[in-house]
Amino acid sequence: MAQANPFQDPLRFERRVPSCAVIIFGANGDLTKRKLLPSLYRLAFERRLPQGFAVVGISRTAMSDDDFRQKMEASVKEFLENSPFDQALWDDFSRGLFYIAGDVADDALYQRLGVRLEEIAKTRQTAGNALFYLSTQPSHYGTAAGGLGRAGLAKSANGAWRRLVVEKPFGHDQSSARELENQLHEHFAEEQLYRIDHYLGKETVQNILAFRFGNPLFEPLWNRRYISHVQITAAESIGVEGRGGYYQEAGALRDMIQNHLLQVLATVAMEPSAVFEPTAVRDERAKLLRSIRIYKPGEVNDHAVAGQYGPARVGGKDLLGFREEPGVDPNAMTDTYAAVTFQIDNWRWSGVPFYVRSGKRMPKRVTDIAIRYNPVPHSLFMTGGDGDDSFDTARPNLLILRIQPEEGISLRFSSKQPGAGMKLRPVSMDFNYGTSFGTRTPTAYETLLVDAMVGDATLYTRQDMVEASWAAVQPILDVWSERKDDPFPNYPAGSWGPKASDEMLARRGHEWRVP
């Protein structure tokens, strides 16, 4: 085992990234320009990148190293968030940027890449470590993994590591997800694979673990005895914004719930791991996902609702319906809204519904988790003396974990109204992340890129987690795909979704809260 670096001071220094090269497939794409390069540059600015660091961009467009550097400079300047641009630092950082033009289906590309990586290992001292990042179309994932494997680039040699980062979607359904896994596993071992779900990289999602397992106050109340139900909402006010072609093939259930929101659900509901280490934490997340009840086809309509927005006038502006959006089939059956009641069949959560919803063209952009506690077993304060008992009822406690915007935590409880009598009113205790920690927080991509480079997979999705989450949504997708009627559009743009979604909760005596 290599001797530890005696100069490290983990109390003060951030985690160190070892010398390595990051190879981005799809280097001319939006993700590279908007997220990956700005994040890598920011890491350099934060002094978190090693001396021997390089980026190799790959795409079909013919470009020289210098062209690529100039293009990335413009992107970083445009998309860098809350951070200054330091020209001298960029000049230094960009000397480690290289570019190769080629087709991912062409084996010659990987031969050229291999030669280039060897050169870079010598000139930039990357020690042969390589992080391959697939930022291409999902249909190219298997091809790229195969090309890397056949060229011998997937194999770690002389102590160097090779890792592969894959962006979602991990398949289009359960069977295509398995097919993708087979393609990836043909050349890469599971521990080399880093399936990125940027939601897990968000500080506030990570804070759920800190909140639950760093505070003994809440964990004893985190179960079926005290919690009535949980609501997870991810609402967007925007429509498909030019991504109509892609989105009509995906839909809200695939695009948000199958991955991001089930990962959030798992984070909220998982058991504590014995240690905070990647395998242990992911084992618990996977175990929770496997505990989600798989619905039979006949049960789906009781537990899942699909919606699609229609045209509406909002704030004096006419908004198009989904089917009128550019690039969208006028008869598209895509769900731009999905709500599902998940049941977790384990000791802790048996009988507690987890309502999860996500939609486009909602009244506002918000992602939060609402944990509604059971009402008091016997209310002393129910009778309203003045005939208006709306404020007298002791409302159940509500714990809100706000992911975005205004990240924070609120706890609603009842308080006596000042004055004579015993009237209760709900009040809120608020913790605002931005107020208590006014400093800049790293973006999800900064966090996840560092994790992949240091080999920490805690916040990455594992194969069994992908399979379990597909298993949970596949019956719903199957029923929806066989629908004969055309219920869409069934909610106007700018509303909180279809009526059927409210009815789904009402059947259990619950209602959606307005975030």
């Binding site: 001797q3 005696p6 100069f7 001298a88 630092l89 605002n432 006014g438």
Partner: protein
């Protein structure tokens, strides 16, 4: 006849503070007021006319560490003086529609009233939250009169760069550390970038391989006699390279040079950046923008618990100076 000094009581000051918040609440503003507090920061200063500078530092600091600030401004007067005022400082939180407000109590006192300040401040610290004492003028630490107030907080913050007699200052810090205080030094946080750059260099496998061969280390400062910054850095390096010959000179670090069997690694100051040159001559630029007091304080306040690396370095420097 001695001047009459009005009695100052903690309860009265807290009541005044409550009124400040009430007024703020009633002030019409498009931005909501958020009262925030994560610790009590006691500040002792002697500098006349630094009100604006100190207010700026505390204002910058409140984003990451909103606090109840209790400031003691020590003044030289012919007559005894002991007065206090309360106010709130508000800033618009970045990108938000909220004003973040912190409360401040400012005492002005002549030295004979230091015990009164201690007695009143005992009732002013925020319950259940950490209390820190920042002796803004580090020279005061050598003044026995001020020792009356040291029991107000366990962590004591100073800037060792201000010591006129560095040896005496460091010995005093070490004495307090041994007596149970947790010493925090802005002079130490100022050299974090140097230490981090050294650590980063040795993440590179080639550099790491010559670690055991390093036989000479030079820490060179720009100016005059050896300063605490150079001493800290040299002692920290010596703690990790026990077999190397360490030389240290000057203050205001200009360069670190490590020699391993004739091969050289170097980090040098290049204005707003450090330039680290590895074994193969490849130079890397590491941003090192000038750091404000608020920035340095923020680093120190992020470590409220023990800091064994600093403690060991302080002990080593104190021993070397003995």
């Amino acid at each position: 006849m001695p001047a009459v000094v009005e009695e100052i009581r903690a309860e009265k000051l807290l009541k005044d503070l409550a009124n400040v918040w009430k007024e703020l609440d009633q002030t019409e503003s498009e931005y909501a007021v958020v009262r925030a507090c994560s610790l009590t920061l006691l500040v002792v200063t002697t500098a006349e006319g630094d009100e604006q500078d100190l207010a700026g530092t505390l204002g910058d600091l409140m984003h990451s560490h909103p606090s109840r600030y209790v400031v003691l401004r020590l003044v030289d007067r012919n007559e005894p003086e002991f007065s206090a005022r309360v106010f709130a400082q508000c800033q618009l939180a970045f990108g938000r529609r909220q004003q973040l407000c912190c409360e401040q109590i400012e005492f002005t006192a002549t030295r004979d009233h230091i015990p009164d300040f201690y007695a009143v401040t005992l009732g002013l610290t925020v319950a259940d939250l950490p209390v820190l004492l920042w002796i803004r003028d580090a020279q005061l630490l050598l003044d026995k009169q001020l020792h009356t107030i040291l029991p107000l907080a366990r962590p004591i913050l100073v800037d060792s760069a201000q010591f006129v007699d560095a040896a005496r200052g460091i010995q005093e810090l070490e004495r307090l550390r041994r007596a149970g205080w947790r010493i925090k030094d802005l002079g130490w946080s100022r050299i974090t970038v140097w230490r981090e750059t050294v650590a980063q260099m040795f993440e590179n496998s080639k550099c790491h391989n010559v670690l055991g061969k390093i036989d000479q280390v030079e820490v060179k400062g720009r100016f005059g006699p050896t300063g605490t910054d150079v001493q800290y850095l040299a002692a920290w390096l010596a703690g990790r390279l026990p077999d190397a010959k360490i030389t240290a000179s000057g203050s205001g670090i200009q360069r670190i040079r490590l020699v391993a069997g004739g091969q050289r690694l170097e980090i040098r100051d290049a204005g707003e950046a450090l330039v680290a040159t590895g074994l193969d001559g490849m130079a890397t630029r590491v941003p090192d923008p000038a750091r404000s007091d608020a920035d340095l304080l923020e680093e120190e306040l992020s470590i409220l618990g023990p800091d064994p690396t600093f403690d060991a370095t302080l002990l080593a420097v104190a021993r070397a100076l003995n």
